[in-house]
């Protein structure tokens, strides 16, 4: 029985398109694993109880709180962090819009904010400001007062919809 419960476990997963094999402490959450073991520090550890959204990343294509998932649970998963999203260039327009609109100051919330906004934008169309606000409501920003962030997301949604015409 006690053998069943491990304190360390082997995991294999894909991180930003690359195979990763690692031995992790079972109590380590995914964000700490990415930051401390893989050096992917774009996933920020903020509140560590799922409230602030700074650790938001993609697991199997869906946005997830990196602090509310054990690294051990990511065995077999495809994880994409802000580093991967950036390298693939899929949010370059969004990142540019954040800069243009002053949608960040200290930058702590920005990776999670971008990952969450990208999730909304991927659904297509031009969401209203209320919809954008609701989708981002799980991501705290203590600098901007949010309006600039909503401006940036709205700008990109419009530009992408225009480009499809």
């Amino acid at each position: 029985m006690s053998d069943l419960f491990q304190t360390e476990t082997q995991i294999r997963l894909m991180v930003n398109g690359q195979k990763v094999k690692a031995r992790v402490r079972v109590g380590q959450h995914l964000t700490d694993f990415l930051r401390q073991e893989l050096g992917l520090t774009g996933s920020h550890a903020g509140c560590e109880h799922g409230v602030c959204g700074a650790c938001t990343l993609r697991v199997n294509g869906e946005i997830t709180r990196g602090c509310l998932m054990l690294a051990a649970q990511a065995d077999g998963a495809e994880v994409e962090t802000i580093e991967g999203l950036t390298e693939r260039g899929v949010i370059a327009d969004l990142q540019q819009a954040f800069v243009h609109r002053n949608a960040l100051q200290c930058g702590f919330c920005t990776p999670g904010m971008l990952a969450t906004a990208a999730d909304l934008l991927a659904r297509g169309g031009v969401p209203g400001r209320e919809v954008i606000r609701d989708h981002l409501s799980g991501n705290y920003c203590r600098c901007t007062g949010y309006e600039a962030i909503i401006d940036a997301v709205e700008t990109v949604a419009r530009a992408r919809a225009e480009a499809l015409k």
């Binding site: 419960f5 938001t56 602090c67």
Partner: protein
């Protein structure tokens, strides 16, 4: 604070999970989506806890029709619940409840079985299954059983589950042709737990009204239901305070929660009349 755990094991079958729970004798917890449990562990409440991860158990997955019942696997994520066509057709209350649960990045991972087992008195899904008159399917080393939602929720974070049992599925009656299913809640910010909430089902056999955030568990408003069945809307509104048992806490006073519960019922009745 950094999470620590005394141990972790992945179960691949229901029998395995419940046997391990029985053997651990109260010293292990089940982790499904982990959206409440991980937060508690990160706050240092899991130091001597061992986790049994049930995410790999195929028998807990899927949404299907079984005769005249809709059966929802315990591992169904909130996001999946919110977009599934069988749910929209047969239990639209749940489709409407999903956007009210936390935030998208939580809904992609949190599960219905986890929400019911955790039994937060302010959570949406426990009140929904109560309003829908669901049966909760439970497995333990001794076999399987079904418990009515009315009997499942006992107190704050306390359910009828024994320590070696897990929720395996939720079984619901199918919505009738002219059935109305509504949910409303009031919270200070989007995604917060409700200060007060109501799930209301009007079916041919009568009304079922469950309040949440207004007592130690989701509670059926039995006087409200009786008044609605009798067609007396004024009596239903007047009965709200006696049907609920709200507490004062830093978020809201008991009196304010009583007021909000009445407001929510009135708005639901306006929705029904519209």
């Amino acid at each position: 604070m950094k999470p620590t755990l005394a141990g972790y094991a992945r179960a691949s079958t229901i029998a395995e999970a419940t046997a391990w729970l029985a053997e651990a004798d109260g010293d292990a917890k089940v982790i499904a989506g982990g959206q409440s449990l991980m937060a508690a562990i990160n706050m240092g409440l899991g130091g001597d806890t061992r986790l049994i991860d049930i995410n790999g158990i195929e028998a807990l997955k899927g949404i299907r029709l079984e005769g005249d019942r809709l059966v929802i696997g315990a591992l169904t994520r909130h996001a999946e619940l919110g977009r599934h066509p069988l749910i929209a057709e047969h239990a639209p209350l749940l489709t409407r409840a999903v956007p009210l649960i936390a935030h998208e990045a939580i809904r992609t991972r949190g599960t219905i079985g986890g929400s019911l087992s955790h039994a937060d008195p302010a959570a949406e899904l426990p009140a929904c299954v109560l309003a829908l008159d669901a049966l909760i399917r439970i497995s333990g080393p001794g076999g399987e059983r079904e418990v009515a939602a009315d009997d499942f929720f006992e107190d704050v974070y306390v359910t009828d589950l024994a320590q070696d049992e897990i929720v395996t599925a939720i079984s619901l009656p199918l919505a009738a042709a002219k059935e109305a299913q509504l949910i409303r809640e009031l919270s200070r910010r989007a995604g917060d737990f409700a200060l007060a909430g109501i799930a209301l089902v009007r079916r041919p056999s009568g009304h079922r009204v469950a309040f949440f955030g207004t007592g130690p568990r989701p509670m059926l408003g039995r006087s409200v239901m009786a008044a609605l069945d009798a067609g007396d809307l004024a009596a239903a509104l007047a009965a709200v305070p006696e049907d609920i048992d709200p507490q004062s806490d830093p978020h809201a006073s008991a009196a304010y929660r009583r007021h909000l519960a009445s407001v929510l019922l009135r708005r639901c009745l306006e929705d029904l009349a519209a």
